[in-house]
Symmetry: C2
Subunit: 218 residues, 2 copies
DNA sequence: ATTACTAGTAGACGAGTAA
DNA sequence: TTTACTCGTCTACTAGTAA
């Protein structure tokens, strides 16, 4: 019953109706809500009844804006989203330890990266990475958080070879502080490289194919 | 069609299903969504069909969690809210200039306040305030933003009299930088006091009952 | 206790249309 | 052009019930 209203209120707010009166015909609102002009007209009347909006019914086009009550309703949903995406503060991905190809370790040991790790993460990584193959279900979680957060590690060129930008995320693996490193430009990463001041395999007695949970702080 | 799903996904996320599997019976989800057990069960099947969630159907209780696709759907809505509440960066309230009772000016000139204004707002206010009676429709807008933002100005005691905490918001009135000041503890303010380095009434040639728009930066 | 089917019903929607 | 009525359809819900 209520999400119908917040959906409409949100779209009205997006086109500026949170700040001041905006001219919106019922047809235009219908387009925004993916419904007919008739249904949009009805929805507007319902919003008026519930005092979520006020209207100035001009000769040619109606002008509407949210009331404080309407704004409050949106705010409530916004706070739910903030709780979901901000106050949780972490996302956990599951996967299995894999043998590194040596590749990751080679990259991570580059002076251009190491200097940034020390400065931005606050530790000097052990000269090797732990490779974790992320479960199919969890691939994509990284994608989702990539836009919002993460610590950008700039690319650089060294000895004629270019090293791309990567994004580091502070993380925890079995309560040990570490960080995961993923390439900035790529939307499909199934193996993540984990860096840590310590030798993770030895410290946590991990063997190939052991399952691990990585808690990524966002 | 789609907001039904995001509504359910949001509630699932709030009880922890964004991070890992959570045990939720269809009855419990029904309670959260304010619908019957049967409808919640159906909704879960729809979410599964659309690959917004995955399920582990145990013997006693099902366990579900969001897929990256489901998280992405929520993220999209979250970004809409961010656009509404953050990227706008301001809220405009409308009102009419009123004669001050001298009260506001007296308060604002207190050394305890003035020092904070200079430090936190970056200007020394003119020794008087412009009083604006907010339109009935816009009363409450302040309330809504009070929780999120504003610059707290601490209360203090001077010569045996106590001056309460107030909240200042940077604002613009006809493109002139100023700030509005409202008491921290009160949820109904119909007249706001505006402080500014200049004599606003004179600078803007304002007379009593003139209508003004105050753009509050948040 | 679960999940989820079927059946019946209330309500949401859009087409047609008036003002 | 607008907004918003009536009305028929069809979807989305809940109750009852099975597994």
């Amino acid at each position: 019953m209520d999400e119908k209203y917040t959906f409409a209120l949100r779209k009205i707010a997006l086109i500026g109706g949170i700040d001041d009166y905006i001219a919106v015909s019922s047809r235009e609102l219908g387009d925004a809500l993916e419904m007919s002009q008739q249904s949009a007209s009805k929805r507007i009347l319902e919003l008026l009844d519930n005092e979520y909006i006020v209207r100035d019914l001009g000769a040619r086009k109606q002008r509407i804006k949210l009331t404080p009550l309407g704004i409050e309703a949106l705010k409530k949903e916004y706070n739910e989203y903030k709780r979901i995406f901000e106050l949780t503060g972490h996302v956990t991905v599951h996967g299995a330890v894999k043998d590194g190809m040596g590749e990751g370790g080679y990259y991570i040991c580059q002076k251009g990266y190491v200097e940034q790790f020390e400065k931005k993460l606050g530790f000097k990584p052990f000269s090797g990475t732990l490779n974790v193959a992320i479960d199919k279900d969890d691939i994509g979680k990284l994608d989702v958080i990539k836009g919002t957060s993460g610590i950008p590690i700039n690319g650089f060129t060294s000895e004629g070879r270019s090293f791309g930008e990567v994004i580091a995320y502070k993380a925890k693996i079995k309560n040990l502080d570490c960080a995961i490193v993923v390439p900035a430009r790529s939307h499909y990463v199934d193996i993540i490289e984990i860096i840590c001041p310590y030798h993770l395999r030895r410290t946590l007695s991990l063997n190939t194919d052991d399952r691990v949970d990585v808690k990524i702080l966002i």
